[in-house]
Point group: C2
């Protein structure tokens, strides 16, 4: 079964906001066997919205329209759907009463505009919105001789997602033919995308009934495998078979077979071994610690660390002497190892990690170019540094260095 | 003049990748006076792509299609445009020669698939792609009696953006009527979005010729003002007038009049005062340091700090005694102040910042719920703590705490 998403709102079309609601809806729709074939973002001009709705309704089974349900004059979704599908908009008396009651509770007069939120398309079911004032609407209708399901969903993520989960998903499950979706997500670190595709493409191309998508960012590769079948067992069998072949090919680049992040995996292994870790970061400036601590429960294994940006702090927090820095340079294997060793002793962690490099855009030289990074891991027995040079801007270099450090920790633990 | 963007590629429709190329293109198009009315994301099924192109070409002046220009069998943009616009695809001999030459240079045979990258739409100009193998195409043609400009642009951001800048923008500037765009971006911190709109909407609604967009995330509000006029001076005058009124209304919530990030502004003020800063972070886990160090040149004012996740590190790095923690709890104004004071003395910074809180989802109690945060700033004269309680999940609480800390530093410096 096919669906389309229309996201309404001018801010979607200017260079700031990203449309995350539709990612959420897409994930949920996929889970119940519905593919999302088009995603359109439209400004709030009524004419454009009517156009987009007409085009979409002609070619899809399920149309989800997000946004434009508020009380302002820019909120035109109800009106646009009415016009596009030639339906009447009727003001619902009990909803009008509810709006008046709520306004009375705040001791403010109800602005006349707000009454538009009580307008319901003929034949539609009102979907209550517990997180906001604009209710959604569910329309199961016919258009051009076919059954069409149209969802009107509030725009703000905190309203959109709960309403979709509570009101739309159960009704969609009832409304559509039973298909079972199985999916797996494999993740690998620090393998160049082009190289990966060379040996992976021949494998996944042989599984035409499994949709494989490869996404790469910041040294992380994510393979998502999705298969839709009339039986759950069959879907799972196909996905697991392909996953197995891909895992074999990815060898130890692979760090997760079920979508966990690299930091989640690192924390898992640390927990298994009952190790603790502390990091002394220079050029990554806190990014490694920030990724690790984004995982709930990280305090079990992550003690913390130091952001040793200034050289004086390399001494104050990790005991790295100014003489060592003068001798080898702040960006060197020796200083990385001294940082790893020092932070380990200072914190009492099992593993100490030291990172020093040149994030750019300035600071590079002939010998030590922008993008050069040293990452060292120290435990009671050994202390090893790894050298890498990453290309790109400051953000990219910091992201790759962080990913590389986390992957080195993972490999040390395995 | 109107434009539409079609982004091609299945990964856009599944819950991982966000489409950032189109944000970049939208920004650039806006700058030359072209509005983006639709943005469509289509999977790589040829039928859907042909459909999308037909729909778009009927209603827009400029159509930019990104992606699907590679050598694999999933890359179908050239073929889809040819079919949708009834144009012939012709293999260009000199491009074929170039592809063979490059393959010879790598000592590999040229896979036959790659030859599709030499196929050019009749009437199109080939746009060289110096960052990849698939060239773009520029088609200035007529369809349905109207002039239409169609751009075929490679998908990967590292290829898309330079090619758009070098090859498309200059040609677009020549092709379209002269309009001048002026824009300003105002940014404010820690003001609730609904409250802001109450006093801002009456102001910007009076400037119907300036497009105002308000975006809010993580305690940050960004107002973008865009005005398009036949003269640059007139556009600038209107935008500056509205900006002035909004700045007045925003008072000291406003931190930037020209789009700078909060961390950029903090570093600017630190530099002006010749102050340095160090941070001791617990629940934010490195996020504050990471934001500050994302700015090139931050080392001028940012010494670093400590991620004092475990209580033992609060002592090791910031001298916060176990007794103080036992007496008031790790999450308390007293511990936040001790962290700020301790990190200041340890690093020799002018300002020390201490943050301690409960990021969740676990760890909250009746007295100290999830989302409770204390942020303290210490200098040689005083040490003050601020208490906040933020709602939301772990990520949201960490983001708001980080933004709040940065804003408190800003206010202390002003």
């Amino acid at each position: 079964m096919k669906s389309e998403i229309i996201a309404v709102g001018s801010e979607m079309l200017t260079p700031w906001r990203q449309d995350t609601n539709s990612l959420y809806l897409t994930e949920k729709l996929n889970e119940i066997g519905v593919t999302v074939t088009f995603k359109t973002i439209v400004g709030d001009r009524k004419k454009d919205l009517v156009n987009a709705i007409r085009v979409a309704i002609g070619r899809t089974d399920i149309l989800a329209i997000m946004g434009g349900l508020g009380p302002t004059e820019d909120d035109l979704t109800r009106e646009a759907v009415a016009e596009a599908l030639s339906l009447i908009l009727r003001r619902d008396a009990s909803m009008v009463a509810a709006l008046h009651t709520r306004a009375a509770g705040w001791r403010v007069p109800l602005p006349p505009n707000n009454l538009k939120q009580a307008e319901v398309l003929e034949g539609a079911l009102v979907l209550p919105n517990v997180n906001g004032s604009a209710p959604g609407q569910w329309l199961d209708t016919r258009f051009g001789g076919y059954r069409k399901i149209v969802l009107l969903i509030p725009g703000p993520p905190s309203e959109c997602r709960p309403l979709f989960d509570a009101e739309c998903l159960p009704r969609l499950r009832e409304a559509i033919p039973k298909r079972f979706i199985a999916s797996r997500t494999l993740r690998a670190a620090m393998i160049p995308e082009s190289q990966a595709d060379l040996f992976l493409a021949p494998i996944y191309s042989n599984f035409k009934d499994v949709e494989t998508t490869i996404l790469a960012h910041g040294g992380d590769i994510q393979l998502s495998l999705v298969c839709s079948k009339p039986s759950a067992a069959l879907a799972k069998e196909r996905v697991d078979e392909l996953a197995g072949r891909l895992e074999e090919a990815l060898e130890d680049w692979l760090y997760s077979s079920d979508g966990e992040s690299l930091e989640q995996i690192v924390l898992f292994y640390l927990g298994l071994r009952q190790f603790t870790v502390a990091v002394a970061e220079s050029c990554t400036g806190g990014m490694i610690a920030q990724r690790i601590t984004s995982v709930p429960g990280s305090s079990r294994s992550f003690l913390g660390g130091a952001v040793v940006y200034a050289d004086s702090l390399k001494y104050a927090f990790a005991g790295v002497s100014p003489e060592l820095i003068a001798q080898h340079g702040a960006v060197s294997a020796e200083v990385a190892k001294a940082l790893a060793h020092g932070i380990r002793l200072r914190t009492g962690a099992t593993l100490g990690v030291g990172v020093t490099g040149i994030a750019g855009p300035t600071g590079g030289t002939e010998d030590k170019p922008v993008g050069l990074v040293y990452i060292a891991i120290s435990d009671a027995e050994k202390n090893e540094a790894t050298e890498r040079t990453f290309r790109g801007d400051r953000t990219r270099i910091r992201e790759f260095s962080t990913q590389q450090a986390l992957d080195l920790i993972r490999r040390r633990l395995m």
